[in-house]
Symmetry: C2
Subunit: 410 residues, 2 copies
């Protein structure tokens, strides 16, 4: 089995090293020598620290995609445009494809799965969600026997690391973000991690798999954690809750609600224990009351593990019969299944603002209790429809108030 590796960054080099390290043991088990034949890199002359790869490097993707010797492509480029083209080209050209690319899969899952099926090839992406946690494969299998009704998850290590640091060391958001950057958990532009876009992608993939239908990425609304302050964390802790950035999708017959937003989690919940860059995913089905998976959501070794597991499923032939998007039943995307009570902290600019702030809620027909704490207005709403909360947020933003909010999660 000859492999073509697209990309030699963290994921790509991790896959190369793991395959090399386990080559003999896998060869004896699978009676098949699994070996990387070519590696796509931007700069062939850049020094690399993954052993003797000199003869393997190329800067021309089509040298790999058109190589008749290569049966499987590992796409480890990241990003959207080029990666999508290469994956599609590879599948059309009769190559199996394994990828860790959540951006491409979340956006083009249906088209790529159709393409893989037409060409009778595997398209596997275990590493795209939850890093090293064996997640998609067991869920695919269990979804054959279960009607799942719910999935929720802490799916972004960067934001969870920031919230953990803020909670445990009483840091401000920017201080915690700076540490995340130092540790390599946050990128130069951390927007996708912090604003919820990254979680939305992973949630789209997870929900598609357990509900066995294509959950479109743009049906998932998301709200991030950038507004949160040290004082919010303390106040929420005193109320007996922790703040987490949670992705959640719920299905009821042909209705689906999916959202990513900050939530207040009770201190008795399993999710409350998820610290630092760890991830956790929980599902509910008609045969499985509650099932959770916990582990490293990223990292070179963990991700390489997941990618190579997919490669072994191709070698083994066990990816077959795992067709996942077998239905077409989701008709009604709205957020009504995830209504809830919301916590709001709103900081007035003048004392006279208290009345103005309350009016924003009343105007939108939201019932709430309120109190003043450290001059801030603390509001806990009754169960409120998502659209009303949207309007409140928009009005508070427009009026220029500083605020934070989170849904009270059961």
């Amino acid at each position: 089995m000859k492999i073509g590796l697209l990309g030699c960054g963290t994921v790509g080099s991790g896959v190369y090293e793991l395959l090399k390290h386990q080559r003999e043991s896998l060869a004896s088990l699978y009676k098949e020598d699994i070996v990387v034949k070519k590696i796509l890199v931007k700069d062939i002359d850049k020094p690399r620290h993954i052993g003797d790869v000199e003869g393997l490097l190329t800067s021309n993707a089509y040298e790999i995609l058109n190589d008749p010797d290569i049966e499987l492509i590992v796409e480890a480029l990241g990003g959207e445009g080029t990666a999508y083209e290469y994956i599609a080209y590879g599948l059309r050209n009769g190559k199996h494809v394994v990828t860790a690319n959540k951006a491409v899969i979340a956006k083009h899952m249906k088209a790529l799965i159709d393409l893989a099926e037409e060409n009778n090839r595997a398209l596997l992406f275990e590493a795209s969600v939850g890093g090293g946690i064996p997640l998609l494969k067991p869920l695919k299998q269990r979804s054959l026997l279960n009607e799942f009704s719910e999935v929720k998850g802490i799916l972004n290590g960067t934001s969870n690391f920031i919230l953990t640091k803020m909670t445990e060391e009483a840091l401000d958001f920017e201080e915690a973000l700076a540490i995340a950057r130092e540790k390599g958990y946050a990128e130069a532009d951390p927007s996708d991690d912090i604003e919820g876009a990254d979680v939305a992608r992973k949630l789209a993939i997870l929900a598609s798999i357990i509900f066995k239908d294509n959950v479109a990425l743009d049906s998932i609304s998301y709200r991030g954690i950038r507004r949160i302050t040290k004082a919010d964390i303390k106040l929420i802790k005193d109320l007996g809750y922790s703040v987490k950035l949670l992705g959640k999708a719920v299905k009821e017959n042909d209705r689906l609600s999916a959202i990513v937003e900050p939530v207040l989690i009770k201190s008795t919940s399993l999710f409350e224990r998820v610290r630092d860059a760890y991830n956790m995913v929980a599902v509910r089905g008609d045969n499985l009351e509650e099932l959770s998976f916990y582990g490293e959501g990223a990292g070179k070794k963990a991700t390489a593990n997941a990618v190579v597991s997919d490669i072994l499923d191709v070698v083994n032939g066990s990816y077959r019969k795992e067709t996942i998007l077998r239905r077409n039943w989701l008709k009604d995307y709205n957020r009504s299944l995830i209504e809830g009570n919301y916590f709001f902290r709103v900081t007035p600019k003048l004392t006279s603002d208290y009345f103005e702030i309350s009016k924003v809620f009343t105007r939108n027909a939201i019932v709430f209790s309120k109190r003043v704490e450290n001059n801030d207005l603390i509001i806990i709403t009754e169960a409120s429809v998502a659209e009303a909360i949207d309007r409140v947020i928009a009005e508070l933003e427009k009026a220029g108030f500083s605020f934070f909010f989170g849904r009270l999660e059961n």
Copy 2:
């Protein structure tokens, strides 16, 4: 694919119902009609509530085991002797075997796996550990790429339910046990669940899989939770810990330590959150820092799910290449890798006993701190070798003291 079902109790009838319920959807996916042809029962005439099974029942196992039409046997009898014979007979006779029987697998894993390989047939037992949690399959696959160093788990629903009730409702052991019996969580004789034997079986299976060598059941020592009192729970809670019955196996080169015993778990641990009859398993490997699985450890639907998942792996052919006991590297079974600090509560019979109790520890070269609480002597030991703790327990028992102990788990 014709299936022969041995046993029609909770597991057997659950498997029958799930296969029947999903028959059409599985047939369309696998292009194979998966159907139960015969069911072994003790009493053919007993009324059953699983639909029209009249023509399927037999009280003669060999009518199933020798039926050339039947390709796969589901062993759902439980117990040891007969079940082992039928499984071995089935494999020799060219049948695939799927079982939920932890007693047989823990004791005869190596012999049965060898037999399955000789006959080129599948032997799968996902449901034997962790009920509905997809556990053995992902661990088998990850063990191909990882050197695991540790596994630990809350693996017995009955004992965890009792500990949860005692903790949350301040009940005595016997009161909590009575509720467990009422709810169907505890059998008439709950010894195996409460004394740790059941956990030892599951730990033997888990450890064999992740360490890729046969971990003999009799190399696992176990201690149960029967000694614990309501007062112990409260005292331990005040110290910031919870009591759990934990199975743990640690490997270092060719040394293995495995033990089942009550442990004191810090209130910040994920394990501390595992309530009622739920299970949790955590592993550590060289490529996976920490990976945990959480879910229902038993129950008709959850167990049937796991059994049918195994059946689908046989239909799919994906069980091949999952040979697990590929090594023979464990040479040195002792408990030195799981040494730790121990908590002891010892109730003296007379005031003069305090000195006598302390002497038991000193005599065994254990360093400890002590204090008196509600007339009981509370002792926290320094890290102590397992054999010394064994001797202390034996001496306290011999002297007739009431006591409870648990290892402080990190």
